[in-house]
């Protein structure tokens, strides 16, 4: 049985490294499964669970809040974000850094809460899903 090497890393630490039979990832345009020998591919990930099917048939899930997936003929690299990311949220972080520099306490944050809520929501949902899957798996074994 062919296998493929998988590296899952985040900016803060290495999450997983090893051989796998197949990998499932939450790409932005939908969940995709990658088998050994897949065409080279680069895609953006959304929040969700990256599942690695080990050689012995067991599956392991890793929660990511986004990031990039690179597929080479014999290596899959997942560059995962651990932080919540959204265009509006990044913008908010910029504002915060600038504001702190200006030491002004004007309330310019109006309209930002919506974006925060949305991103947090999507992340929570994905987290819950991951937890549920873990529970189910634990219940079965």
């Amino acid at each position: 049985m062919a296998t493929i090497h998988v590296d899952i890393v985040s900016a803060e630490h290495e999450i997983f490294s090893g051989e796998a039979e197949m990998v499932f990832a939450p790409a932005q345009l939908g969940e995709m499964g990658i088998a050994p020998g897949h065409t080279p591919l680069v895609t953006q990930l959304g929040p969700g669970e990256v599942r690695v099917k080990h050689v012995d048939g067991t599956e392991e899930g890793f929660y990511v809040s986004g990031g990039l997936l690179e597929v080479q003929p014999n290596v899959i690299t997942v560059l995962s974000d651990t932080a919540m990311r959204a265009e509006d949220l990044d913008e908010a972080a910029v504002l915060k850094a600038k504001e702190e520099a200006e030491r002004q306490l004007h309330d310019r944050e109006a309209g930002m809460d919506y974006a925060t809520a949305l991103a947090e929501n999507a992340e929570l949902a994905a987290q819950l899903q991951a937890i549920q899957r873990l529970r189910k798996r634990a219940g079965r074994s």
Binding site: H13, Q28, D90
Partner: protein
């Protein structure tokens, strides 16, 4: 015995100080070890992302991201300064600022203006005093900062670059050599220095989802963020190492001081006893 009361008080106060510096030394030592681990843990991401960038660069020579193209005329540069939040860490921050000030002077002399994005209390306080042009500020990052805390400070500079407000971006931080040595370093982030001398023999093109430009943009942004994150984590390891060394020498100095005071105290005590004895003897002789 009334003698040497002041000296005894002094000794006990120095002893108390020594206890504190000893405790700080030990805390710093254990924090340094953890910071070093985090430093190591952050390395794979930067390496992987660099590899992907090299591959993408080889596969996509026609698309050149602005981050990759050096600008012919540099009128203004951005600098991300990484410092510690707290003091009591020897000359760590001042060495760093000196190195940076030298650079800033050079830039100033060649007519280049400077924008600063400061991370850490020390840099914020220091550069604010000199009326530097601070466009972003981040303080109180703690011992284990997440990359999410840094997004704002980095993005301010990236946006400024895209809007052509700045023409180059640097990060200034302490490099960790070992627990005794820390080197202030100035590293260029943008234009990204390409290291495409690695294996370039495989030429495949990727399938891109959603499209090549978007993926590359994201990749470069993440890459620069990860470099800044590494600089911050490394600086924390440096801070703890410098504090450990500073506190160790403070404890040693307190020890020497106590020894000296003890000697003075013993001499005074001895003199007092001798005096009393001679008083008694002469008193007895007079009877």
């Amino acid at each position: 015995m009334a003698v040497g009361k002041e000296i005894r008080t002094k000794i006990s106060s120095v002893k108390n100080t020594q206890k504190i510096t000893k405790a700080m030394e030990m805390v710093a030592a254990s924090k340094m070890r953890r910071a070093q681990e985090r430093m190591r843990a952050a390395r794979p991401y930067a390496e992987k992302i660099r590899n992907v960038m090299v591959h993408l660069g080889a596969a996509n020579p026609e698309y050149n991201h602005p981050y990759l193209i050096p600008r012919s005329e540099i009128k203004r540069v951005g600098v991300i300064v990484v410092s510690s939040d707290r003091g009591l860490c020897g000359g760590l921050n001042s060495n760093l600022f000196r190195e940076l000030l030298k650079r800033m002077k050079d830039w100033d002399e060649s007519g280049i203006e400077i924008d600063l994005s400061v991370i850490g209390n020390k840099a914020a306080g220091y550069f604010a005093r000199f009326n530097a042009n601070i466009t972003a500020q981040l303080t109180h990052i703690g011992d284990a900062p997440g990359i999410d805390q840094l997004i704002g400070s980095v993005k301010v500079m990236l946006d400024a670059y895209m809007e052509e407000k700045i023409d180059a971006l640097y990060v200034v931080s302490n490099g960790f050599v070992n627990s005794m040595t820390q080197n202030p370093t100035v590293e260029q982030l943008i234009p990204v220095q390409a290291a495409d001398d690695e294996e370039m023999q495989h030429h495949w093109d990727y399938i891109y989802e959603p499209d090549a430009k978007e993926v590359l943009d994201l990749l470069l942004e993440r890459y620069i963020e990860s470099l800044v994150y590494q600089a911050v984590v490394e600086n924390i390891a440096c801070e703890q190492a410098a504090r450990m060394v500073a506190m160790k020498s403070a404890s040693d100095n307190a020890g020497t001081l106590i020894d000296e005071l003890q000697l003075v105290y013993n001499k005074a005590r001895q003199a007092a006893i001798t005096q009393e004895l001679s008083e008694i003897v002469s008193g007895a002789a007079a009877v």
